[in-house]
Symmetry: C2
Subunit: 141 residues, 2 copies
Amino acid sequence: MAATHPPHVHALLYEAYLRVSDVVFEGAKAMDARVRPSHAAVFFHMEHEGIRLGRLAEKAQMTPQAMGELVDDLEEFGYLRRVPDPTDRRAKLIVFTEEGDAALRTGYKIIDDVERRMAGLLGEEGFGDLHRMLTRIITYF
Amino acid sequence: MAATHPPHVHALLYEAYLRVSDVVFEGAKAMDARVRPSHAAVFFHMEHEGIRLGRLAEKAQMTPQAMGELVDDLEEFGYLRRVPDPTDRRAKLIVFTEEGDAALRTGYKIIDDVERRMAGLLGEEGFGDLHRMLTRIITYF
DNA sequence: CCATTTGATAAGGTAGCATTAATATAATGC
DNA sequence: GCATTATATTAATGCTACCTTATCAAATGG
């Protein structure tokens, strides 16, 4: 650092996120090398009943165009399908394929593993405290 | 979320970082709208005595080419200058201008403010715990 | 003193978004 | 029952923040 300070919590939040993410994305890459970190937003905000592109984009806080590209990829990879929305012929519903559903479950397994590793490292109490403090920061900042 | 879970700490780390960063970068933008978040890495890893491009890139974990562009920008904005390195005529030393030095100090003031806000929100003890837990995650992950 | 290494930089490419604009369908007011 | 306006998606294009490859000049080690 240009000035000598103990690292700011701001910087630590970033570093910690990067480390944990690395582990998660390594796990994901081992499952399917075509999937990139940006695709995670799709899985994260999907809905099993099917979801429209616009709503998916909104939940992920990006434009429908950007989300459209991610969905294009995952459709190509065989994880999603676009089916016509019966209630509105302009719209399409994005739904999981069998494989997409399996991939989602695998993804959560990878994340749950990492969460358990963190809990082991910090102790259940510390892990709970961390959860609460981060939630508090998110709520009030 | 596609499945209903309490948010993972992994996700919370990301969210918290984004919230805190927003505040920091809003503050920075208010000072100089030309400066972008990516320029922060330069200020963060600069050294007052002057530093070579290669070393700056190494510290920031990016290629010299990428760092070169950031330094180009900040040189244009008047915060940095490239001076010949007297010990090696291939090399240049990147040094702060007066304005760059002032900007660095302002930047740290903005961050320190945010850190104090977090400490206020969590209490000194909680803030210290957060600091230690994040450091622990970074060290052992 | 020449071969190799090192420092900077130029040219061109890619991922992950955004903005603007086109197209199709739907809903609404009169 | 149009004409207007709104909404869902997609296409074209652009920008930021990087990377890779290639070039050139200066330094260094046998």
